[in-house]
């Protein structure tokens, strides 16, 4: 049903996505986007734009509440009036409402905004999976699938119809004809083969904060893509002066240090594509994160060369995310821009801080690319 508010809602979404009204973006309260809680649960704040007003600084604020507790007892972090009831002074809604979602649900919300760009149906097993879903009821079937409730109901119905039902002594005896069984339908799941190659620079110049950002970002790209595309593989590469393939767990935990030779990673990446993921069968998406501080100009030249000849022709999209670092020169992104400005199979994104993660994911996977 179309609602009158839809255009208003659309505009709000556009502001949040940064499509229009950049000036308002700084008043969007983001809160923390990522916060995994318990098993598969995260809390995402709803985006909220606080129109600036003359108001009091929150530092001096406080308020009045009701209930038990002694002086000095804590009421928890942040604004204790976070729910809709609000406190006197009509402060309701000033605080982002935290909603707990499963990963699945969150991925769905991200899905409104993101997609794998230019994915193509590839590979010989274009349909590999078949999924059975129990969708109906039938009269014949294995006993293990007997639908007890429906059977019972059928028997009750029959007994009422034939007048053998006695409400004083309600005994229901199902006979053979009453039995009902669950039935299923098999649905084919169309699949595209895709592989994500996550490459992370773990050299000494990448501080803990930078690595943290990379991990959060790759975690979300990974989580989201996995939920959206079946038959998705991901592989992980870390590099300093040498590159090596690691498993997912190591990728998210490793702390290394050392120099930086990006070419080592690109070589490994190219080799993996060569050996394992022929582009005729795979959609390939390498994601490389670094602080952009490469060891030498020569190495950079080599990187450009590998990208040009061995990687870019084979991949659907190459994403390079550069994390801002206090130590690094951040030169690499400029080099890439210089050499690949025209080439739209390479996307670069500068990630200035945690707040910019969502923005950067959008750079990589935003719709309409």
């Amino acid at each position: 049903m179309a609602l009158r508010i839809d255009p208003d809602h659309g505009r709000f979404r556009d502001i949040v996505r940064g499509k229009i009204k950049q000036d308002l973006r700084k008043y969007i309260s983001q809160g923390e986007l990522i916060g995994r809680k318990g098993k598969d649960l995260v809390s995402i704040p709803l985006p909220q734009i606080n129109v600036p007003r003359f108001r009091f600084g929150s530092k001096d604020r406080g308020g009045v509440g009701q209930g038990k507790g002694d002086v000095g007892d804590s009421l928890g972090k942040g604004d204790p009036n976070a729910d809709g009831s609000g406190k006197a002074g009509d402060q309701a809604g000033e605080h982002a409402l935290e909603v707990e979602l499963s990963l699945e649900e969150l991925a769905q919300i991200m899905g409104e905004e993101l997609q794998l760009p230019r994915i193509e149906p590839k590979g010989k097993q274009r349909i590999i999976a078949q999924k059975d879903r129990y969708v109906g009821i039938r009269r014949a079937g294995p006993e293990s699938l007997r639908h007890f409730k429906r059977t019972f109901r059928q028997a009750l119905r029959r007994q009422i119809m034939t007048g053998t039902y006695n409400s004083e002594n309600p005994i229901i005896v199902p006979v053979r004809e009453d039995r009902r069984y669950r039935s299923w339908r098999t649905t084919p799941l169309p699949q595209s083969n895709a592989v994500m190659l996550f490459i992370m620079d773990v050299s000494g110049s990448m501080g803990d904060e930078q690595k943290e950002i990379v991990r959060i970002e790759s975690f979300w790209i990974d989580a989201w893509l996995r939920s959206q595309y079946k038959g998705l593989e991901s592989r992980y590469i870390i590099h300093d002066a040498v590159a090596k393939e690691v498993d997912r767990d190591t990728f998210f935990r490793t702390r290394e240090s050392g120099g930086t030779m990006i070419s080592s990673a690109y070589k490994l990446c190219a080799k993996m594509i060569e050996d394992e993921f022929p582009p005729t069968e795979w959609n390939i998406y390498p994601f490389h994160f670094s602080d952009g501080d490469n060891w030498s100009v020569d190495d950079t030249v080599q990187c450009v060369e590998i990208l040009k000849t061995q990687i870019l022709p084979k991949v659907n999209l190459f994403c390079y995310g550069q994390v801002e670092s206090p130590y690094g020169s951040g030169q690499f992104i400029k080099d890439l821009n210089e050499h690949f400005d025209e080439d739209d199979s390479l996307v670069v994104s500068e990630i200035k801080g945690k707040d910019a993660i969502m923005e950067s994911i959008r750079d990589f996977l935003g719709k309409g690319k």
Partner: protein, 495 residues
């Protein structure tokens, strides 16, 4: 939109009958049943079926629908102050919920009609809002959404700079009276004296001096505004160089701000009043035996107070009940106030039975500030376990900082006064003789949130189209902030 099915309109009539018997006095109420989507839409529009296009309604809608989807909240009732009143029922609610909502709505309607602070609101606002929507849409068609919406954004930054009491008070003498006074004072004031003493008491030198003084007074540049003006929006409408469409939009924003102001001024009292009446009507009249459990359950969730929270429904109804009890038992007046025997106070009952009459008086004459100020007593505070809390800088947690009555009440009143917003006045439209606008924050101990203040100043600058200045104090130092259209500057005052 569906009108009410017969079984519900029967219930409506039944409940209205109970309400009237209790003395509630309301306009006709038009109920409509909405499905949850439409309900969220209407709620996002502030209760109205149509508003002008603006993203903030979309934001509100998203919040409402997300919290609905994830089971955080559900909108039960909505009613708008209009004659006839419009109210909405959520499709699929159980009958007992619908009854409760109808009873609750009657409480609000009675309040809208009779509370003094609503007396100047537009009772045809449903048309008013539709009219505003049409006007804004017309501007959008002509000038494009970007331009219009951006200007609305600027106006919304200033939305709270109104003078909520101005509909009730004449702050300035009407122009004729002003003139009259001028003519009168054209004569040189003399000190009264018998005629033979006159030249001694009012010697020529004295009269000359008086004349010079008056001339000085007259020649002094006239300041605009003559007195600090709290209705900043009005001042802008009258003095800012606005295009006609800008004036129109600013007018709309101001109109709506004034329309909603009484609702913000009476949140506690209005909700308390409605809760009080739904609870009386339901428990004394409308409930069937089979519905009691459901009713009690839902009622409890409406009145629930999580630790550390402040629920206007709850405090409103409790305080009204307290007032009713005190006036029923004669617990007021000098004798009561001066009684110091705890025992006597506990058993005090003069059986005067004035409670009902008293709460009707309260609903007629009070708003939240005056209600709390007058009836929030130390007894009540202690009985209902109120506390005040503040932020502990060290831990970043909010902590209970006091259970002292005076402190709690002060804090409560502070957060209610001017909706907990700072007082801002226009001081001078020709500051420094350069056509710059000067506004002043009347500092009462709490600093402004400066980041927002600067952005708001910028919004003001867009409307004023000349540099704008704000005087406020930051950490005890008087400062003046200036926005000249491009740059924000600040300096200590007096340097």
């Amino acid at each position: 939109m569906a009108s009410l099915p017969p079984y519900l309109s029967d219930i409506q009539r039944e409940i209205e009958g109970y309400g009237r018997a209790y003395g509630l006095d309301f306009w006709e109420v038009e109920f409509e049943i909405l499905d949850y989507k439409r309900m969220q839409e209407v709620a996002a529009f502030g209760g109205f079926p149509v508003r002008y296009p603006h993203w903030r309604f979309g934001m509100e809608f998203e919040h409402l629908s997300k919290s609905h989807i994830y089971g955080f909240s559900k909108i039960y009732e909505m009613v708008i102050n209009n004659n006839p009143a419009y109210a909405y029922l959520l499709e699929g609610n159980s009958l007992v919920d619908q009854k409760m909502v109808i009873a609750h709505v009657l409480g609000h309607c009675d309040f809208f009609k009779n509370n003094y602070f609503f007396s100047k609101t537009n009772r045809r606002m449903i048309d008013g809002m539709a009219n505003h929507a049409t006007r804004v849409r017309r501007h959008i068609e002509r000038l494009g959404i970007e331009k219009i919406e951006s200007f609305i954004d600027s106006c919304l930054c200033l939305e709270n700079l109104i003078d909520p009491m101005s509909p009730f008070i004449t702050r300035k003498a009407p122009p004729e009276r002003e003139k009259e006074r001028e003519e009168k004072t054209a004569e040189i004031p003399r000190i009264r004296a018998k005629s033979y003493m006159d030249k001694f008491i009012n010697p020529p030198e004295y009269l000359d001096e008086q004349r010079r003084k008056m001339e000085r007074e007259r020649d002094k540049p006239k300041k605009n505004p003559s007195e600090p003006e709290r209705d900043v929006l009005l001042f802008l409408l009258q003095n800012a160089p606005l295009d006609s469409w800008e004036r129109d939009i600013l007018e709309i924003v101001r109109d709506e701000a004034y329309y909603f102001a009484p609702q913000r001024q009476t949140k506690i009292l209005n909700e308390g009043w409605a809760a009080y009446w739904h609870s009386r009507i339901m428990t004394e009249k409308a409930l069937k035996v089979s519905e009691i459990i459901d009713y009690a359950d839902h009622n409890a969730s409406v009145l629930a107070t999580a630790p550390g929270q402040f629920n206007p429904y709850k405090i409103g109804i409790e305080l009204l009940r307290d007032v009713e009890e005190r006036w029923d038992k004669g617990r007021f007046g000098r004798e009561w106030n001066e009684c110091e025997s705890l025992d006597a106070r506990r058993t005090w009952d003069k059986r005067v039975g004035l409670g009902r009459k008293k709460i009707f008086e309260v609903r007629k004459l009070y708003n939240d500030v005056t209600f709390i100020d007058e009836y929030f007593t130390a007894d009540f505070c202690e009985r209902n376990k109120f506390f005040s809390f503040s932020l502990n800088d060290r831990t970043g947690n909010y902590e209970i900082d006091s259970r002292e009555f005076a402190k709690i009440k002060h804090k409560m009143l502070f957060s209610l006064t001017n909706f907990g917003d700072p007082f801002i006045f226009v001081e001078d439209a020709n500051y420094d003789n350069r056509g710059e606008l000067l506004i002043r924050h009347r500092h009462e101990g709490t600093d402004l949130q400066m980041e927002h203040a600067r952005a708001t100043l910028a919004a003001l600058g867009r409307v004023w189209r000349r540099p704008v200045n704000l005087i406020t104090a930051v950490e005890g130092k008087q400062k003046i902030f200036r926005f000249d259209g491009k740059e924000q500057t600040e300096k200590a005052l007096g340097s």
